[in-house]
Amino acid sequence: MIFRVIFSTMIVQMKQSFARPMFRFCLLANPMLNTILLYEMYKNSGEENFMAYVVLGAGLMGLWGCICFSSAGDINRERYSGTLSLIFVAPTSFPIIILGKIIGNTLMSLLTLGISLATAKILFGIDLVLESPGYFLIALLASVITFIVISSVIACLLTLSRKTELYMNCIEIPMSLICGFVFPVSVLAPQVRIISYILSPTYAVELMRMAVWGVIDTTLFWEKMSILILLTIIYTLISVFLYKKIDRRVRIAATLEVA
């Protein structure tokens, strides 16, 4: 039953999101433009492996953008269309529905990686270089899970507030920068790097990049992976805690609707 709820929510979410021009822009055009931009930036940098920063970077920025503007923005859209209150009072638990939405969005958003790859290949003739495909898949899977968990924390906080759009705009770009989607976090100031290392996407990106270059030091890979898993578990616990809280909170504060 729960599985059917998650699955049908995923499908509904995908249909809804894809019907929105803004989402299609984020999903299709954004990674293309980012790929071009990043390629131009990295062209003369001496970095030969464009896969690591250009393709992966543009894809991840696109992925993160989609997550920001849909997983989170959807809460607001549903609030304004009056469906948020309907799904809230349905007998299925609200977090399950939100989870379904987020999984749907995240899976669809993975398309950005493919699009930036295709853009790089077609426009600049960059070949797919993936030294350790197995490790890459593991890293990708872990990244998807961590992104899903982060989205659910964000979605939860946004159920409480009506200023969703504003907050989303505020965190989209900084997150890409702090987590090192397009450059190694080692170029950041040490104070900022502390933040980088409590954010799980930082590790997710590093792991994927390691796999692109080829995992030589497997201990290091698994070390980083353990931290990623640990952080993801912590976020999950936070998210569970928050959902318990908001269930009562939203009904006291009346933030499910705009009226």
């Binding site: 009072v89 009562r248 009904r251």
Partner: protein
């Protein structure tokens, strides 16, 4: 007969912050100590002027909003704290063009909500077909809702409200936007539900509808109950229910 809704001295306040820098907190007493009971199988009307607190009351009854104080029970359970025992047995319909997924078809909307209401897959198709027939949306069931007229969206809302075969149906101005035929269809649906032993609590500004449908009503004004009884009792010697209603409202506003 069994008491299915029990409201006692129920209050709900909204806290509104105004002012950009100096935060003034003003409190709106939307519902200010109302009491009423609804029995199984009744069609119960909640009447009152705009802003009287009808929607707020319905939201508390449908587990959407927490009461500030007082008792609010549906089917013997508290709507805040014991909502898990209530939710699958009730449903609600709000008037207007909200509450549907506009980028999906009517059928997809109903299919989705029947999943959320955990209706077994083998029952879903037949139930959805029947409901679509009932609200006269069958021909357009597979078109996207964004291509629907206002009244068609309202019909879809009604369909959605029936999806879990609720024991109690809450309706907040359900006939808003419906054409005369649609409004009659809804009244027929409501009567049919009553014949099946279901309970309906509705708000409306259409008093002839109240006369036609409601077994009992309460009139709320500024969050307080000012009258309760059958439509006949309220009418008394007045020419129409409307006259009697206006008189009651004027009396308390003096």
């Amino acid at each position: 007969m069994e008491k299915v809704i029990c409201v006692k001295d129920l209050k709900r306040e909204y806290h509104k912050k105004s002012g950009l820098f100096k935060k003034n907190k003003n409190i709106v007493k939307a519902v200010d100590g109302i009491s009423f009971d609804v029995y199984e199988g009744e069609i119960f009307g909640l009447l009152g002027q705009n802003g009287a607190g009808k929607t707020t009351t319905i939201k508390m009854l449908t587990t959407l909003l927490a009461p500030t104080s007082g008792q609010c029970q549906v089917l013997g359970y508290k709507t805040f704290g014991e909502e898990k025992n209530i939710r699958s047995k009730i449903n609600f319909i709000f008037g207007g063009e909200m509450g549907v997924y506009r980028r999906l078809s009517a059928r997809d909307n109903l299919r989705y909500f029947s999943n959320l209401y955990l209706i077994p897959a083998n029952l879903q198709k037949e139930r959805i077909d029947n409901i679509l027939e009932l609200v006269d949306l069958k021909d357009r069931a597979d078109d996207l809702v964004e291509t629907y007229s206002k009244g068609m969206i309202q019909r879809l809302q009604i369909a959605r409200g029936l999806i879990n075969d609720p024991e109690i149906l809450f309706m907040d101005e359900p006939t808003v936007g419906l054409d005369p035929v649609g409004a009659r269809m809804l009244r027929d649906i409501i009567r049919k539900l009553k014949a099946q032993g279901k309970t309906v609590l509705l708000t409306t500004h259409n008093l002839s509808e109240v006369e036609e449908l409601c077994d009992r009503v309460v009139i709320i004004n500024k969050g307080k109950v000012i009258y309760g009884g059958t439509p006949e009792e309220i009418k008394g010697d007045s020419l129409s229910l409307e006259d009697a209603y206006v008189k009651l409202i004027e009396e308390v506003s003096e």
